[in-house]
Structures are given as C-alpha cells and as structure tokens.
Amino acid sequence: MASLELLLIFTLISGVIAYLVGKVHPKTGSILTIIVSGIVFASLAYFGLNEQLLTKVSYLPYISFIQTPLAIFFGVLVSFVFFMVSFFNPYFIDKYTYKAVYSLLYLLSLAGIIGIFFTDNFMTLFFFFELVVWSSLFLIPLGRDEEVSVWYFGFSVFGSFALLSAILLMQSVTGTFDITTGLQAVSGFNRLSVFILLLIAAFAKLGAFPLHYWLPKVLTDSPDPVTSIFSGGLEKLGAFIAVLGLVKLVPTGFFIDVMDMYLTHYILAILGSLTIIGGTVMAIRQDDAKKLLAYSSMSNGGYIIVALSLGSSAGISGGLYHIIAHAIASTAAFLAIGAVARQTNTTKMSELGGMLHKMPITYMVYLIAIISMAGIPPMGGFISKWLIFQGVINKGLILVAAATFFGSIGSFLYVFRPLAALFLGQELPQFKETIKEAPIVMLIPMVILSLLNIVTGVYPTNILAYINTLLVDLNIVQLDITRWTIVGTNGTLNPALIAVMFALGVFIAFIIFISLKKSRKVELMDTYTAANFIYTEELLHYSVDFYAPIERLYEPYIHFMKKFYQALANKVREVGALVKYYIFTSKPEVATFFIMLVIAILLWGDLV
C-alpha cells in the first residue's frame, strides 16, 4: 500500500478485526498482528525508501501527510521493530488477561506511530501521540505489575503536555499548526520556550534524566514483547521529538565559544550525560535482566540526546545511527531475554544459570546484541559510538566525554552480567530437563535482528547515505562517507576492514586451535574448587550480587530521584488531604466562613 492514509485505515481496521478474531481465537488474532505489522513495515520500507509514498488524503478529514526523509527514517525503523516483535505475540498471548484487546492495542499503537511520523500538522501529531500513549498504556498492565502504567502515564502525559504547550505557543505566535513553517517562523524568546518544551517532551518519552523514572519500571514489568516495543520503538518517539527540537529548531541564545555550541545545547548534553551515568550505574546493580536492559535503554537514550545536542554532522548522524543500532540491538536483547522468560518464567539472574546449553541460538542472539550495545566492533553500536565520540571530542566537551566514556565502559559491565549469570555458568538442575530452545517462529525475528546487528556494523554505508539525505533535509553538513569508509573530523573508520581483520584473526586462532591436540570434554561441575568437594550447582554459580564491590560505592546515593518523585506525589496528596480536612467537613459554618472571607477580600481589595 503506497498510500499512507490507506495504510493508517488498514491498520486501524485490522486492529478491530484482530480484536474480533481474538475474541474467538486469541492466537489467530495475534497472528494477524504479525501479518498486519509486516504489511505496514513492507509498505513503508518499500515505498518510503523509494520516496513513493502517497500523501493524498481522501477519506480522513483534518489529517494530512507529508513524506520527509526523517519521517521515513523513523517510520521504517519503528514499524520494523513492531514487525519483529509481533512474531512473539502468539507465544505470549496466553499469559494475558485480555487476549483480544492486546492485539487491538498493539495495532492501534502501530497506527499511531504511522500518524506521528508522517503528519505535517502539529495537532495531528499530538492526536496520534496521545493515541499511542493510551493504547500502549493498557498494554503494560498485562504484564507483572499494574501500578507501573500509572507512572508511565504520568510522565508520558507530562511530556505530551509539554509538547502541547509548545504547539499552542507556536500556533499562537505563528498562526499555523504546520510543522515545518511553524518551527521556522517562531522566533526570539518564544523560540527558546518552544525549544525547552519540545525537549521536555522528548526527555519524557525517551526516559532521559530527570524524567526517566518510568522507563525502567515499565520496561521491567510490561509483558516481554511490549518491553521490546517500548525499548526499540516507542521510546524512539522521544528521539523524533528531540530531532524536531534540537535540529530543526535551533534557538539563539548564549553561545559558548570555546565549545562551539549554544548554552542550551550544552545543558542538554549535560542532562544527556547524567542520563548515561544514571542508567549505567543503575543497570550495573540490577538483578532482573529485564530491568538491567531497561536501565541500559535509558543510558542509550542519553547517548542519543548527547549526540543530537552536538549539532555537528558527526554528532547528529551518530545520534541517528545510534537510534537504529540501539533499536535493533535492544530489541534483540529484550527478545532474547523474553524467550528465556517464556521458557523459565523468570528473568531474575539469581534464579537462572547455564541457559546457554539448552538455548544456544538465543544465547548467540543475546551475545551479538550486547556486543552492539556495548559499542564493540564489528557491530552497529560501534559505528554510532565512534561517530558520537568524534562529535564530542571535536567540541572538546570534557565532562560530557567523561560521561560517554563512562557509559561506554560501564556498558561492558552491565551487558556482561546477564551473559555470565543467566546464560553461562553452571547449568542449574531445575532447568536441565525442562527447558528447550525457543520455538522456531520466535527465533526468526531474533536471527534477523542479529544479522542486522552485524550488517549495520560491517557495512553502514547505505544507512549513512540515507542519513546524509536526511541531513540535507535538516540543513546540516553531510557526513563524509565513501563506499567503505567513514571520514570523521579526526580520523577515518573502515568498518568492513575491521570486520575482515577480526574474521581473519579468528580464523588464525581457529587454525591454531584446531591444529593442536584435541581437548578432553569434561562436565561443568568438574572444576577447580580449591580442594573442596561441591556437588550442588548453585554453590558453583556466581550470579547474586555480581558487582557488589562497585555497587557498594554508590548505593547510598542512587535513590534521590525516586525520593523526589515520591515526595512530589506525596505533596500533592498532602495538599489534597489538607484541603479536604479543612473544607470538607459536615459543618456548615466552615463554608459560611469561607464565603464571608471571599466577600471580605473583595471589599478589602476595592477599598484599598
């Protein structure tokens, strides 16, 4: 379907059909989500990348579409994530209380995504934004904890309202809801205000500090496929808004010469840095694999903010590439953990171990994903991190650089923890017999994502070329790329060469290995135990408090944001309770008193 409008209507209607079918047979309903999201992705990718999407609107009033490289970039990416994750739906549908509604909301969110990215009108954008908020909102409580969705809603709506305020402000100044003209026409102090409001919206959606509080909760407690959707897809809405704010609308303000950037951007970069540090530090100490990845998502959101706030071609293309790389990698990682969760019903690392032996493919998927997340070549994450480092170093942002380095090294720590505690180590007896590899349909998206992780890391040229066309659209100098290399400002990268050398290195090592004497295979329990005899697997499995020594160093300081938000909630509650106590009595004299008071104030005001 080349027409965006038809695509939108198609998605909505299939949502309803999936609901009706799901009423009768939930599994079929969820299979429909695979088909529909596949069609949506295929249409957007095929027609979008050829710039052949039809924007004409004939059935839906008040909605208009536009086809920009930015929209296609995000649309293809997010619909791809939806498509990939939808393969998991049939396997998880039995766990939900409301099976049919799940499919409906899933497709409703997808429809909202199409609307958000492809509209040229801010009001329509907000419409779909809110649509996505509430349709995804009800997906969350199908998982482990219902209260989480309240936090999600709170922060999400806070962000939405910031967006709305920005829209209203822009409209009142420029008189138009049109995104492009609106962003161009707003000027002066209003421009700054719009900028700040847009960025609040972006931060809330992206889960960046200090509006990050919901993200780990939601990603931990939603159903496993939904987690992947959030991390790989919906969170990227924030990135989209951030691009609108940071790149399309550059406020004029105080300019820091030595850093070659605006103060506003620098503050954002610092906030992004805090997000990186916060996410990293928190991820390191989690026991729940999903929560760990959730915090890593937060930290990667910080990278995106930092990258986009740099404003240089290396920075922005790095940020955009990071959006892709992280979407692919984190979706893959969450899906892998989800596959484990489906087989074992837990994601706690302290309860798992040795999954590698029964789920080798899942393990490889996770391994490749974390290599990318940690920014290690030859995976996609390396390219984006390299570009971001280029940008950061060019501007000479010392503190921001420190945070990005910290996050980058810290990511080695936290991604390794599930690897070691969950997949590796001793194979726990309770999983020895019962666990099988995930079903083949679930493996399809995971393998595809893994291949993409590698492709984005080895041959990024096509994507970077597309990002370059996008940069033209955003009025930013293009990144200098050739077929095999990326030319940064202070160095050249040849990802394919790295991959080839790595392959050759591994080949040589393999030759060495194979040409030497064959090893004797021994059991996992047959290990060095310093002359003790240990027969229980748990005692030989190191997974609880993995990073205890380093956690101890910062443990006392981590809860301040949590305390802040809970205090805020309590304050609101206190105000309410106070007024309730003082005004809402069953005694008439109280109200009489207030009436008199109001009259007295008026008289006093008029007399004075």
Binding site: V579, S586, F594, V598
Partner: protein, 459 residues
C-alpha cells in the same frame, strides 16, 4: 408547542402523582420521556409569561444554547429515572418537581425566576438526597444551599436596586452600556457568583459535596453528579455570558477561586482512596474548568464541554454507584477487578474516562484541544498551564482507577448490572467515540452556537 410545557407538564403530573400514588412512577417515566421527545418539536424563541413586556415580565428563552442544555439534562434525567424509578417510588413526584425546576433553570431569562427555580430544584434535591439515609449531610447541603441562594438573592436585589431590571439579557446590556466603573457592580456579582458557586461546587463553598456525593447511591450520584452539575453549569454559563461584568479585583478573585478549585479539586481526588470521593472531587475540578472556560469567554466550547462531561459523568457515577450499592464499600481496594466480570460496562466506563481525560479518538479530546487552542490564541497561557497541570493529576488517578478496575489481584467483586445500564453505557460510549472521530456534529454545534450570540430580546 410552547416551551412552558417543559416546566408545566412535569409540575402538573407531580401534583397528580401526589394524588394518584400508584401511578406516580409511570407518570415520572412518561413525563421525562415526553420532555425528551418534546424538545424535538419546540421552536426556538422567547416568550414572556403573563403578556407583559419583556422588561417586566418573566421571560423564557429557548435558543440553541438552552436547547443543548435541555437535551442534556432531560436525556440524562430520563436515563436515570428509567434505571431507578421503581426503586424509589415515593420520590416520583419530587423527581418530577426537580425536573420542572431544572428545565426552568435552563429556560428562564429572569434573575428572580432563576432564584425560584434554583430553590425548587434545590429543595427537591434535598429531599432526593434523603434516600442516602444520612440526614446530617443532607442538612449540611440544605444549609449551604440556602445560604448560597440567599446570597444570590441579595446580589440580584442589589442589581435590581441599581438598574431596576431583572431580565438577564437586558440587565447585561444595560450594565455593559451604562456602568463605567466596573468595581461598582463587583459586589452583587460576587454575591451571585457565590450563590451559584455553592451549587456548581466551586471551592471553597462546596463542602456539602462530600456528604452528598461521597455517600451517594445509584439515584443521587448520577442525579446530583451529572444532571444537577450540568444544569447549574449551564446556568452559570448563561449568566457569565449575558450578565456578568468583571471588575479587575473581581476577576482576580474569581480566577483565584477557579484555579484553586481546579487544582485543589484534582489534588483532593488524587489523595482519595474511595471511588466515590475520587469522582466527586474530580467533578469539582471539572466544574471549575467549565466555569473558567465560560468566565474567559469561550462560550461555545464551554457548552459542549459541559454537555460532554454530563454524559461521561453519568456513566461514571452510574457504574460506580451501582457497584458500591452491591459491594457495600467504596474503597478502591474493595472494588478492584470490578470490570473483570463486566467487560462491556468496563469498556464504556473506560471510554468515558478517557474522554474526560481528553485523550484522542474520544470527543473529550476535540473539546479540550479547541478550548486550549482558543486560550492560547487569546493568549492566556497561565490558564493553559493550569488546565494541563490539572489534566495531568486527573490522568494519573483516573488511570489508576481504570487499571484497578480492570485487573484484579485475587477475588474480583461480583456486581450485576441491569441491561438498561449496559445499553446506556455502551450507547453513550459509542457516541463519545463517534463524536471524537467524526467531527462534523461538534463543529456544527459550535457554529450554530456562535451564530446566536445576538439574542432574541423581544417577546
């Protein structure tokens, strides 16, 4: 058909119902249904009772504004009556009187007549609320209601003493034209504001609400929470549109009161753990929003907002009160998982809630957006901020409510809803959704309301 019939027929049957006790509930049902039907045949215009000139006589005005109000009030009333009339047979005449009073409130164009209808509606409300078996709350309601209407009376008498006219529109025009120092009329307007504020549940005049709506049953909850609330909001809107002139200090006080109503109302709802209290405090805030919208002069969208809120609130109060009546508790924890066995009701309730929150594909979104856009263009960003902040808090506790109702921990309460309730809920939910997507009807209402700004003055 004359518009007087809308008031006269209920009154007549009310007295007939006192004589023919057995038939009273049927009268109630028939008359309220008749009123809804009759609205379709009544031509718009103004009439003056007793053939005086409109300067002296009691004028009743039916324009598209009051027509919307009548439709909302009568429809809601009919629905509530249809669900409840055989449970409270004794109340039938009183309900009829209250219907007459409410219709009068919406129709009258005379300040004193408005007072009379206020008292009629009020007294019948006091009597209806005695069904909750809590005389203390009712007494509180009565005292506050009386104080409120006394202040209203005081205000209108002062205005009469100053200008010698009680016709709202004429008075408004005179004040607009004659008074140069707006502060001179600030006091009577404040009295009137207070008087209506008590009924409209504005902070801090609204302490009666907690006793009445916090202990409501399936009759009083929807009636007071949805019907009375929308009727008085319409009246307030009417007065704000045609009569009120704000001096600076009055506007300041009113703004502060309204902002406090909105924000503190939401905060109180947020602080509550009882479902009925959540609903009542949130309706306080919404009343504040409606009055604010009118006070700032966005009459058309304000009207639609009240109408929409009326229908949404009906669902909310109905569903919750029926559940509370059966579960015998209104603690959120006791009602957890309410919708697990009542999915249709749950769907309708969710739609109504999401619409109140102003989330898209529901009508609430359209209304809220239009109000906010109008505010931003005036520009009144402070109030935009207030409404958004209020919506945020509102969203949080309503979503908490919904999530609690949809997902149970161990044992979901068993609540039976009659088919009438289910149908009503679904139909209203469907309408809310349809109006949220298909914008033509709302826009046409918007434009007709805009057209009739110049009002019929002669009768």
């Amino acid at each position: 058909m004359s518009i007087v019939l809308l008031i006269a027929v209920p009154l007549f049957f009310a007295f007939l119902g006192i004589i023919l006790k057995k038939a009273a509930p049927y009268f109630l049902l028939l008359v309220s249904f008749f009123n809804v039907l009759a609205l379709g045949f009544i031509s718009q215009g103004a009439i003056v009772i007793g053939g005086y000139s409109s300067f002296y006589g009691i004028q009743l005005v039916l324009n598209s504004y009051s027509l919307i109000g009548l439709y909302v009030v009568n429809t809601l009333f009919f629905v509530i009556v249809a669900i409840n009339c055989f449970k409270h047979k004794k109340l039938s005449p009183i309900l009829l009187i209250s219907l007459a009073g409410l219709n009068g409130l919406l129709l009258t164009n005379d300040l004193f007549n408005l007072f009379v209808f206020m008292e009629i509606a009020g007294i019948s409300a006091y009597l209806i609320t005695t069904t909750t078996k809590d005389p203390k709350s009712t007494f509180n309601y009565l005292v506050l209601g009386t104080i409120g209407s006394s202040f209203y009376l005081l205000g209108l008498i002062i205005l009469y003493a100053m200008f010698g006219v009680l016709n709202i529109r004429i008075l408004g025009n005179i004040i607009e034209g004659v008074v140069t120092n707006k502060a001179a009329v600030a006091l009577p307007f404040l009295f009137i504001f207070i008087g209506l504020g008590v009924e409209t549940k504005l902070l801090p005049f609204n302490s009666w609400v907690k006793g009445i709506l916090g202990k409501s049953n399936a009759l009083t909850g929807p009636l007071v929470g949805a019907v009375y609330a929308s009727a008085f909001a319409f009246v307030f809107g009417n007065l704000l549109r045609y009569l009120f002139v704000f001096s600076e200090s009055l506007l300041l006080i009113v703004s502060i009161l309204l902002v406090a109503t909105i924000l503190i109302g939401e905060a109180m709802a947020y602080a509550s753990t009882k479902v009925r209290e959540i609903l009542l405090f949130s309706s306080i805030a919404q009343a504040g929003v409606a009055v604010l919208v009118f006070a700032l002069g966005y009459y058309t969208w304000g009207t639609i907002l009240i109408a929409l809120n009326g229908f949404s609130k009906l669902i909310l109060y109905l569903v919750v009160n029926i559940a509370v009546d059966q579960v015998k508790s209104d603690e959120l924890s006791a009602l957890k998982g309410l919708f697990v066995n009542n999915k249709l009701i749950g769907a309708g309730f969710s739609v109504a809630t999401l619409s109140i929150l102003g989330l898209p594909i529901f009508a609430g979104f359209i209304v809220k957006m239009n109000i906010l856009v109008a505010m931003a263009n005036t520009p009144k960003f402070f109030f935009v901020g207030v409404i958004l902040l209020a919506s945020l808090i509102e969203g949080i506790y309503f979503i908490k409510l919904l999530i609690n109702f949809w997902f149970e921990q161990d044992q979901a309460p068993r609540v039976k809803y009659s088919y009438v309730v289910i149908y009503v809920t679904l139909v209203i939910a469907l309408l809310i959704t349809v109006f949220g997507v298909y914008l033509e009807p709302l826009n046409s209402i918007h434009s007709t309301l805009n057209l009739v700004k110049g009002v019929v003055m002669h009768g």
